[in-house]
């Protein structure tokens, strides 16, 4: 399926998810195109995390369909989803690192367990080292997650998500609970990954500044820093705003900032103030 000349990597069609009597997602429809950055904004409990987990098939949709890389993920059994999931990297809210494994084993986990990645055993260690250097944690190989700070665990989570070089990356509240400096470092890493490897990115967050940074800055490999994207050459970024399981806004940053809806404008206004 094509929209604006780009194939849709992820597409939700009227997806509804219920937990007992609570509707977590209510007829949600959106598409994420190749090379696009999608920022999912919303208050806590608005359905952002459920949307990301439903995209991966970790939560099953009660109604509607989810198409991942053109395949109907909702029609697949758990075992059949393994191949599809190997093409998606996900950073969970608190990192979700395996406590009992070292950092090296955590990052190597997808390479050793996702057969479709076909990583020869002798290449596992070099790829893990390279990925940990990418997130500037090359010295933590032998440590266990409990020895790392919250920000470092999040960076290891990013390393684990990107080690298999997936074309689609889902970030669930990567800056939640972090101090502003660490949060900025995490966002820099996400932009770096997106711009150097040209991955399609979906980011769930309640912080508008995270979306603002992804929409307006690009990573410069020469200077090793984020720089403002000039002359319309910025990344294609779209904003979705969730409220009580529904998408109440979908559009560009300018449209978001112009919105007069009290709920929607709360997210855009914070940065202006």
């Amino acid at each position: 399926m094509r929209d604006n000349g780009h194939p849709a990597i992820l597409r939700f069609e009227d997806v509804t998810v219920r937990f007992d009597d609570t509707v977590a997602l209510d007829q949600v429809s959106f598409a994420l195109e190749e090379g696009e950055t999608c920022v999912l904004l919303g208050a806590a409990g608005s359905g952002k995390t459920v949307a990301l987990k439903t995209a991966l098939g970790l939560i099953r949709a009660d109604q509607g369909q989810v198409f991942l890389f053109g395949e109907d993920a909702t029609a697949k059994k758990e075992r059949e989803l393994v191949d599809l999931r190997s093409r998606v990297g996900m950073l969970f809210q608190e990192g979700a690192l395996f406590d009992s494994l070292t950092i090296e084993e955590n990052v190597a986990y997808p390479l050793r367990n996702q057969k479709t990645l076909r990583c020869p055993p002798e290449q596992v260690r070099p790829r893990v080292e390279e990925t940990l250097r990418f997130v500037e944690l090359g010295h933590t190989l032998e440590k266990v997650p409990s020895e790392l700070s919250g920000g470092m665990r999040r960076r290891v989570g990013i390393a684990r998500a990107i080690v298999g070089a997936p074309p689609l990356l889902l970030y669930d509240s990567p800056t939640a609970g972090l101090d502003p400096i660490t949060a900025n470092n995490i966002m820099t890493l996400i932009a770096k990954e997106r711009d150097l490897r040209h991955t399609t990115t979906a980011l769930a967050t309640h912080r508008y500044q995270d979306g603002h940074l992804l929409a307006n800055f690009r990573y410069n490999a020469d200077s090793g820093r984020l720089e403002p994207a000039r002359g319309g050459g910025g990344p294609r970024t779209r904003f979705l705003v969730f409220q009580e399981g529904r998408i109440v806004f979908g559009g560009s940053q300018a449209e978001l900032e112009d919105s007069r809806d009290p709920y929607i404008s709360k997210f855009a206004r914070r940065l202006k103030e």
Binding site: L58, M90, F92, Q93, P110, N113
Partner: protein
Amino acid sequence: MLDFLKSPIYSLQEFIQLSGRTFRNLFRRPHYGDDIALQMDIIGVGSLPIVLLTGFFSGAVMALQMSRALRQYGATGEAGRAVAITLVRELGPVLTALMVTGRNASGMASELGSMKVTEQIDAMRALGTDPVQKLLKPRLIATAVVLPLLTVIADFVGLVGGWVVACPYLNLTTTDYYWNKAYQSIEYNDLAQGLLKPFGFAIIIALVGCYYGMQTTGGTQGVGLSTTRAVVVASVWIFVLNFFIGTFFV
């Protein structure tokens, strides 16, 4: 009107589904041999001290309590028989299973529960691993292999405990006579139920512990609740199964 039945029936359905998935996965690859060995070490070697202690003292207390009755009937020579039969048929399997329940069903529920609330189970699924294969199957196999062995050890140590009380302590009988009686009194029927019971109990311990771990919600408080439920439910089902296996062999 029957709303109060909804929750337990739903839980039973979930438990049966999870158990079914675990059994279906028993012969499917991958087998995670390292995890099975690790769990056998945690459950088997880790439980050995408490199993030795409970086994020894249950045998000893059996001999102690039976001594008065045996003296009344002038049958003190039967001490070995009394201890052997009660241990092999009932006390050995049940007490060992209860000890392992307290130690390992709780451990499984809390470990898996913590993994659930910190999204590690989701991460495992997202990274191409079936949690049933990776977490439940090794625990089920390890418990099913190790619990019968622990029970045999508990039975033997219990007989030693009975001997300590019956012979050196109370002089009820001679050492040779005690061990002869103990050996002669145990029939194949006793051995069969003495080994079948721990096998059945092992399935209950592993599946109930893992089920409550996988059902955990609500943070650390939820983990505590799952752990308590796992121990209580597994203990109750051990007694229920013990009765039904007992009726089969009587």
